[in-house]
């Protein structure tokens, strides 16, 4: 199995790299190969600001970094995926309970919708699309790893899910 990994936030990307290495799964971060069995995207860290400071240009940057970069990655790698392939998005679960989380909240909701819509659309190609949403807690990062490895091997009929998992890494939502 060869996986295309689109790196994002360094801590989350590190957890993914380690999980893939421990499972002896080959991965490439440059998308340069003829075929991949899976695409894993990791969200980039987002700049945070309360609504007073969240100006037009900041929203445009959040849209580019949080949504359009992921869309572009799926569009580039999709032609290299065959029946039975998986797409997995990893993006922090945002608890919108403090000022400054508007950007993270809108990106989280967008990725859940992107996951569900593309899952419905790619089902006929037998390509699954799921999301892992780490939520910062005091538990170990192993939940991300085990969920990732499960989704890489699960039947492609497991699709359209956004799974909230606990994590201990410095996710951008902390």
């Amino acid at each position: 199995m060869r996986v295309a990994l689109r790196p994002g936030a360094s801590d989350l990307t590190g957890v993914v790299r380690l999980a893939l290495r421990e499972a002896s799964i080959e991965y490439r971060e440059d998308e340069h190969a003829d075929a991949f069995a899976a695409l894993i995207t990791v969200a980039e860290p987002l700049e945070e600001s309360s609504y007073h400071a969240l100006d037009d240009r900041t929203v445009a940057r959040i849209v580019d970094a949080g949504i359009l970069s992921i869309v572009g990655s799926v569009q580039r790698v999709f032609p290299k995926l065959r029946a039975g392939s998986r797409i997995i998005h990893i993006t922090p679960c945002c608890a919108p309970n403090r000022p400054g989380s508007i950007g993270a909240a809108l990106v989280e909701a967008a990725i859940i919708a992107l996951t569900r819509s593309t899952a419905a659309e790619f089902a006929e190609f037998r390509i699954s699309v799921n999301a892992i949403m780490p939520r910062a807690t005091w538990s170990a990062d192993s939940a991300i790893s085990s969920t990732l490895i499960y989704l890489l091997q699960a039947p492609t009929s497991v699709t359209g899910l956004s799974l909230t998992v606990p994590c201990n890494c410095n996710a951008p939502n902390r």
Binding site: Y51, V63, S117, E121, G160
Partner: protein, 219 residues
């Protein structure tokens, strides 16, 4: 809305004039103005002339039916510019002019639940809902409510322009009960959220005739 002075803005001023005229003819008070909500300086200039805002209804929207792999990044950006960035601009300028009791209603779409061919549109509307929930918590201490509605199939000019007759019939056949909603269904829900329910905030109300409960994906 009785008791409110309504300012209707639209990129196409003839449409805002028409809507304002209908409100005036019904005995209401309405003005119209030309405004492209994606034009951030124009939005700032518009709000500079509004000393006070009691309620904001964000219903400007762009729509696209297209398979994911055929949707260009420029088309994605165009949708997000109107549906998210323009909407946010309206929210931000309204909030600084709003007092306790103020309310914002963002018109999203049931497509936020996920729908093939509507990935870009549904994703932009989901982003609006994420924004709505987070913003609601930021302004709740000012006693301002922020909610979203998620209309399903509503018979509007935008919908009729977007669907060919075969797609129109097929979509209607998938609707529970076989009938679609009307703009009045949406308007009544918006009125309720503006004036009737100050303790409801950060919520999404589907106005879709039950379609959202029929399946995981709502085609």
């Amino acid at each position: 809305m009785s008791g409110y002075e309504t300012v209707i803005v639209n990129r196409r001023v003839e449409l805002s004039e028409e809507a304002a005229a209908r409100i005036t003819a019904d005995g209401g008070c309405a003005r119209s103005s030309a405004l492209d909500i994606c034009d951030a300086p124009a939005v700032a200039n518009f709000f500079a002339l509004q000393p006070r805002v009691d309620a904001l209804v964000n219903c400007a929207g762009a729509f696209l039916i297209r398979p994911f792999c055929e949707t260009t990044i420029d088309q994605w950006r165009a949708l997000l510019d109107v549906n998210l960035r323009g909407l946010w601009s309206m929210c931000r300028h309204s909030l600084v002019r709003m007092q306790a009791g103020g309310s914002i209603v963002n018109v999203a779409s049931r497509a936020y639940l996920g729908s093939p061919q509507l990935t870009a549109y549904g994703t932009s509307k989901a982003a609006v809902i994420g924004l709505t929930r987070a913003l609601a918590l930021e302004v709740v201490e000012r006693r301002i409510s922020v909610n979203a509605i998620a209309p399903g199939m509503i018979e509007t000019p935008l919908l009729r322009e977007s669907l060919d007759p075969a797609a129109f019939a097929a979509a209607r056949a998938q609707q529970p009960g076989g009938y679609w909603g009307t703009p009045d269904d949406v308007a009544k829900t918006v009125s309720f959220l503006i004036a009737g329910a100050p303790f409801i905030t950060g919520q999404v109300i589907c106005v879709d005739g039950g379609k959202s409960v029929t399946s995981a994906y709502v085609g």
